[in-house]
Symmetry: C2
Subunit: 475 residues, 2 copies
């Protein structure tokens, strides 16, 4: 059924208050991968729990135990579970989102404080860490709930909610929770479908529904030699330097065409058929879109389909950086003693961390042996997640298509996404139901980057979309 028109009006009328609530959420620097920020992630869990309770949602904070990060044993931030409605005649929808964020600091190149939501004076963009990934979408659901709570309207579906604080750090502890709560009598028992709003439109114009995600396998390559950093004048050309070795290894992982040099990794993926290629050709997308969103003409190919397939159906290997080397400005003349290269591979079916990890580790070990250095190597596979593909003709997707048409007046692009949300696969496999990715933000939002933003219209129309989707499910 269509969403009630007063819902749509309510959203427009309350837009400023919704943005104010988003500012509150952004102000909590809930960075899950930094040890000193862990208390902020917990604070964010409590903030969200309080919001949900105030909107009439029955909640529970679920302890997920502890994990070790950077040699420190830390409590995993609790997951926030929510429940409202238990009508057997209604569909039961599970909503997922995350309230942790990527690191951000002004010195990375932000134009504004990343944890102060800043409204761009001319285009109205809402700028701040987590505005789009994923506090904006999570708060979109709060906005929908507020309409129903404040106006004493019954929801068209039963809702179950699962919000976590570790998505950016491998969703530690969540798999076990989903398995446990998906069982008979658990919090997610009886769920008919899942909706996750944690990705982006392909471009800046066309709403999208997403039916595929790449997985990820994240690696650390450590090379160590001396017990302390050395003066390059005193020791240069006397000893094997860990940086020399590490750079050699990192240079052998990927070439400048994007080809992955670890033998067997690219080969695992089938070549696209002409029919599959045509799916990518149909998407509302151009090379100019990529150039606009990255700010420079640096696509690996000038062919739109090739570039789209690079993101949607190919693995990719990115070199993220080096821990332990000199990273400041100026000219420090150090031989770093202990350096750790960080890289990750985005995975597509049939790749999994389990079948890719051994190829990566043994390749690096064999390349390191060829260097004939006396330094020591260790390779560690950090967090990983398998890729995922869903049936985009399922009623869950059909409801989202109708909702998109109702709110935006156009059909959504049907996309596969380059990023990884490992929990998607966990929900699909554990609950055995269809999972829909229903993005709120645009392709140029800059998630994980400096100056992350969510367009005001995406937050407001996106709230309408989320609510309308629930009504369309009830049809």
């Amino acid at each position: 059924m269509p969403a009630p028109s007063d819902f749509l009006q309510f959203v427009d009328q309350n837009a400023d208050a919704f943005i104010q609530r988003l500012a509150e959420a952004v102000a909590i620097p809930s960075i899950s991968c930094e040890v000193p920020r862990r208390p902020d992630v917990v604070k964010m869990a409590h903030w969200l729990d309080g919001q949900l309770k105030a909107l009439g949602v029955e909640t529970q904070l679920r302890d997920l135990g502890t994990h070790v990060m950077d040699g420190v044993e830390l409590g995993i931030p609790p997951a926030v579970l929510g429940r409202i409605g238990n009508d057997p005649k209604k569909k039961t929808v599970l909503l997922y989102g995350h309230f942790d964020v990527q690191p951000a600091s002004k010195s990375d190149g932000w134009n504004t404080d990343p944890f102060t939501l800043t409204i761009h004076p001319t285009n109205g963009q809402l700028i701040g860490r987590g505005s789009s990934d994923d506090k904006g979408p999570v708060l979109g659901w709060l906005n929908v709930l507020q309409y129903h709570h404040q106006n004493k309207k019954e929801l068209p579906v039963n809702l179950r909610m699962c919000f976590e604080g570790m998505e950016e750090t491998g969703s530690e502890g969540l798999d076990d929770l989903v398995v446990k709560e998906g069982a008979k009598g658990g919090w997610f028992d009886g769920v008919d479908c899942v909706c996750i709003s944690d990705n982006y439109w392909l471009n800046t114009r066309t709403p999208a529904l997403t039916y595929g995600l790449r997985g990820i396998a994240y690696y650390k390559v450590n090379v160590s030699g001396p017990t302390r950093d050395l003066h390059s004048g005193v020791f240069g050309r006397m000893v094997h330097e860990p940086m020399t070795d590490l750079i050699q290894i990192m240079s052998k992982l990927v070439d400048t065409t994007g080809q992955i040099l670890v033998p067997g990794v690219d080969d695992m993926v089938s070549v696209a058929s002409e029919e599959e290629k045509s799916l990518y050709e149909q998407l509302d997308y151009s090379i100019a879109d990529v150039e606009e969103s990255v700010g420079a003409p640096i696509t690996l190919s000038d062919d739109k389909t090739t570039v789209l397939m690079g993101r949607m159906r190919s693995p990719s290997l990115s070199l993220h950086g080096i821990e332990g080397a000199f990273y400041g400005s100026g000219g420090k003349t150090v031989i770093p003693a202990n350096v750790t290269g960080k890289f990750s591979i985005r995975l597509v079916p049939p790749q999994t961390p389990e079948n890719v990890n051994p190829l990566v580790v043994s390749y690096i070990e064999s390349e390191f042996a060829k260097l004939k250095t006396k330094n020591k190597l260790s390779v560690e596979a950090m967090h990983g997640g398998r890729p995922w593909i869903a049936d985009h003709k399922h009623w869950n997707f059909e409801a989202a298509k109708r909702a998109t048409e109702a709110v935006y007046g156009r059909s959504p692009d049907l996309t596969r996404e380059g990023g990884s949300i490992p929990v998607t696969l966990t929900f699909a496999e554990t609950l055995g139901v269809n999972v829909l990715l229903l993005p709120m933000g645009r392709g140029d939002d800059g998630a994980h980057s400096t100056n992350e933003k969510l367009d005001r219209s995406n937050f407001i129309e996106g709230t309408k979309l989320l609510g309308t989707y629930l009504y369309e499910l009830a049809q």
Copy 2:
């Protein structure tokens, strides 16, 4: 003439007070290559000026103008000039040292706060940034002056002093000062020889005099593409990644045997004759010494002479790190937008920054062109300094040999050093006099590294050595 015995006693009796003064100096974090620390370098200049004045030295703070660092125009810290004695019957000796230090922070791996001088509870090492490089030696001169001032003893030579605060950042402004003050009527007019205490023994046992230094040429290689950092899930295998390109370039600079891959650079240096090799064979040195000072068996060769020649008469290329990439712990999935590799080449005659820079820049540009990336490259030669060699049979060296024998009871090793003190060459060429490097610290002091230290005995016996050298000059 030998140093008076009460000088040697004075040094022993005042050792604790000397160490306390060193603690005061270390407590000022005078890091010249960090913009926010610049006021501390200036503070350190004033501290030193005050100390010298209190010891009866006529001083001047010399403004060296401004320079641009990291896009900021900064005042160069003033040089501290000192003068005491003007007896035409005495030799006039110019002392040089520096009061700026390399960066240091606890997070780099220091066991103690780098700016709190810490006395090791068992071995008495004086641990702190600058303890050995170069505040300890500069304060050694203060200790010598204190004996003469406090006891109203005349110095055996006339002294001129030049202490700078930019040695770790290319000695900006100093060349002009030396040229100006070396001219007729200038502060350095009439100087007969120069003594610089700013390097280290070859090992931990044998005092050394140093007659050669490598030069340095420091480079930045910048690769830029997108206008902001990108999410590796969203953009991986769509765009040319600056890190991929930069790592390729950095991997082509040096191999794991230490060979410099920039064509023509290694080739500029002559092959050592058998006679020259024999000089290195005679030095009190073993592979075990290197292994002990670096803490691991990582020498490039198992042959002592080869390893020594690598440091003393060969160029070396060290990769220091990358600015702009992810350097934290954890697993950030970023495609950095703008990354700058830092490396430097230590130079030996006949290499100079002027003849090496064009080879490096054109090689990197041609290797980058081969990558066929759409990202942008820029290569910048930062600070540089030529290598230097002195006549080690000059009376200046002979005086230092006798002083070493008197204080330490043994002949010094005659070494060439791997590090760079560009001002050495400036003094030699501008003043046209012999320059002696008279090290105070040991080969394992960890200058430019974590947990930098100066052994208590090196500070105290080193003070005796500096004073005795002045008396031996007067013979």
